[in-house]
């Protein structure tokens, strides 16, 4: 969690232009001391550029990087020596594993004995202590990335920056490394910036999430807030809100908004809404409950109960989730477990009732 005080690292009015294009535009971003900030965005969003600017590896076309509130001017090297970066590739040098881990410490002037102690300790902690004397050329992808992580942590950095550190690993290894990183970050209470395109990683590891799309920050906040209340339709879609429905506000009464979505009425809990106008109604597919038509599910608190016809069924990833495409006058997507799908006899053409609470509908002005 973030500690009080000025931000450890911040960007102010940063602009990065390349070949006439604006690649990154960040008027303001703060990395609080002790927090893990997850920078989430699709490929090409400018996340790596953002990380390089924060790491003082790339000078922005304009704007400033602030360290503990004061702008970094002149040679960034002393500040770089207080941070550590882990990239997607291990980027180890042609020497032994231990020599690799010691290199950063040696560049920063640590005494030899301490270098060796820290190197051994962190290699052990990352489970690759037995590889200390092996040449870095003979490591597997997972082992090499562990060494890269050990190399960064051995520096006791004040800020740890990670650029999609596990994207090049296979899925089970990714899972393992995310688990590992979570405990490491908690143990060391290091301020960290994690760049990723993986929503689950951001949700799990970030104290705050910054959504970056097309070089601009769209939303910054605690992960639950960002995922439950995306700032705009594009963000919503990227965050996996499958249902972003065009809606017309018909009436608002008692904190409840009546919306016209296609031929149907949808009820939404209206946080702050004008009595009329257009909006995007966002519903996460996991919040939609399916039941057989006419099964007497009228009791229950879900204000939205729409008869629908199944148009498509497809598995979602390796887990038990199944994606159900529905037509209830407008297209709707629901996620259910495979077991439920079977029990309900879901198949294309089947008719069901799709239910979701008014509270599950998040409105974005249009």
């Amino acid at each position: 969690m973030g500690r009080p005080g000025p931000a450890k690292l911040a960007l102010r009015d940063v602009l990065v232009r390349r070949q006439g294009r604006t690649v990154l535009e960040v008027p303001s971003l703060e990395v609080m001391d002790g927090e893990v900030l997850a920078v989430l965005g699709p490929n090409g969003a400018g996340k790596s550029t953002l990380l390089r600017v924060l790491a003082l590896l790339e000078r922005p076309s304009s704007g400033q990087v602030l360290w503990e509130g004061r702008p970094v001017t002149g040679d960034p090297l002393p500040y770089r020596r207080r941070m550590a970066v882990v990239f997607q590739e291990p980027l180890l040098l042609d020497m032994t594993v231990e020599a690799n881990v010691r290199l950063g410490m040696s560049l920063r002037g640590l005494p030899r004995r301490e270098q060796k102690q820290r190197a051994r300790r962190w290699l052990e902690r990352l489970g690759v202590g037995h590889l200390a004397h092996r040449s870095a050329r003979h490591l597997s992808g997972g082992e090499a990335q562990r060494v890269s992580l050990a190399r960064a942590l051995a520096l006791s950095p004040e800020v740890l920056l990670l650029d999609e550190p596990f994207a090049a690993l296979d899925a089970p290894m990714q899972q393992e490394m995310v688990d590992e990183l979570e405990s490491l970050l908690r143990e060391t209470a290091t301020t960290a910036v994690l760049v990723t395109h993986d929503r689950a990683q951001a949700l799990r590891l970030g104290d705050r999430v910054a959504v970056l799309m097309d070089g601009r920050l769209r939303q910054v906040g605690p992960p639950q807030t960002v995922f439950a209340q995306p700032a705009d339709a594009e963000v919503a879609r990227f965050l996996g809100v499958e249902n972003v429905l065009p809606a017309e506000v018909v009436a608002v009464q008692g904190g409840l908004a009546q919306l016209q979505v296609g031929p149907r009425i949808v009820w939404a809990a209206a946080e702050s809404l004008r009595g009329e106008g257009r909006a995007w109604a966002c519903v996460r597919p996991e919040h939609i409950v399916l039941a057989p038509l006419g099964s007497g599910e009228e009791a229950g608190s879900a204000r939205n109960r729409l008869p629908a016809r199944v148009t498509r069924l497809a598995p979602v990833g390796p887990g038990p989730q199944v994606r159900v495409d529905l037509d209830c006058g407008f297209p709707l997507v629901a996620y259910v477990t495979a077991t439920s799908a079977e029990q309900l006899g879901l198949r294309p053409g089947a008719t069901v009732v799709a239910s979701f609470k008014a509270l599950s509908v998040h409105l974005i002005p249009r």
């Binding site: 770089r80 040098l93 042609d94 290199l103 950063g104 560049l107």
Partner: protein, 231 residues
């Protein structure tokens, strides 16, 4: 064919007897080509690294020029250097024409594009983000360059060997700027041309064998150093 056999037999005789003239020519060859390679390496490695790492308008053109330079006809380089160094030329006051120094200059110019081009390729073949990682670890710009060169030491050694090979086997430019003066600017290649034109085939062949042996020995040494790392 008889002539060739005569030559080979005469060659071994001369080599075994350690003819002082032959020794002097060999020593000068090593000194001149060694110095030229050193100069070309010192300049070429830095230039090549810059070409590989920096981004500036016209970078691609510069690389193309370097690659063209690898195929420069040495005799043209020799003529250019000679024109510059002639007593009546712009740098004539330096009095370098027909001295070993002039040969070093000419050979260095010939070897430079080779070392530069190979270095740029060697550095360019490193993982693109390696430089960023090294800087992030806390290296200054020069430390980073050193670490990258170290990382590319195998192809860099090849670059030096290629540069040396070009320098030592060069004859046209060396003749033009050196003048092939006995005891002063006569090296193995220029001596071979001279002795062949005089009809002293045994001497010419001896010198050729010696040159081959020299090039082989230097490359063997460098290759051993290079391959030792590949364990």
């Amino acid at each position: 064919m008889d002539l060739v056999w005569e030559g080979i037999r005469g060659a071994f005789r001369l080599l075994v007897e350690l003819d002082p003239e032959v020794l002097r020519v060999t020593a000068l060859t090593l000194a001149v080509s060694g110095s030229a390679t050193l100069v070309a390496t010192a300049v070429g490695v830095v230039l090549g690294s810059f070409l590989a790492l920096a981004s500036f308008p016209g970078r691609r053109l510069a690389l193309a020029l370097v690659n063209t330079g690898m195929g420069l006809p040495p005799v043209a380089v020799g003529l250019l250097v000679a024109v510059l160094l002639w007593r009546s030329g712009p740098l004539g006051a330096l009095g370098l024409i027909y001295t070993p120094a002039a040969m070093v200059i000419a050979q260095a110019v010939i070897a430079l594009p080779i070392v530069t081009g190979f270095t740029a390729a060697a550095i360019g073949s490193l993982p693109p983000r390696l430089r960023l990682q090294v800087l992030a670890l806390g290296a200054s710009r020069w430390q980073a360059l050193w670490l990258l060169l170290r990382e590319a030491r195998l192809p860099l050694l090849a670059a030096v060997m290629a540069g040396f090979g070009a320098a030592i086997s060069e004859v046209g430019a060396s003749l033009m700027v050196g003048g092939n003066i006995q005891g002063e600017t006569r090296v193995l290649t220029t001596a071979i041309v001279l002795e062949t034109s005089r009809g002293n085939f045994d001497l010419a062949i001896a010198l050729s064998l010696l040159l081959l042996a020299l090039v082989f020995a230097v490359n063997l040494l460098l290759t051993t150093v290079q391959q030792r790392r590949l364990s």
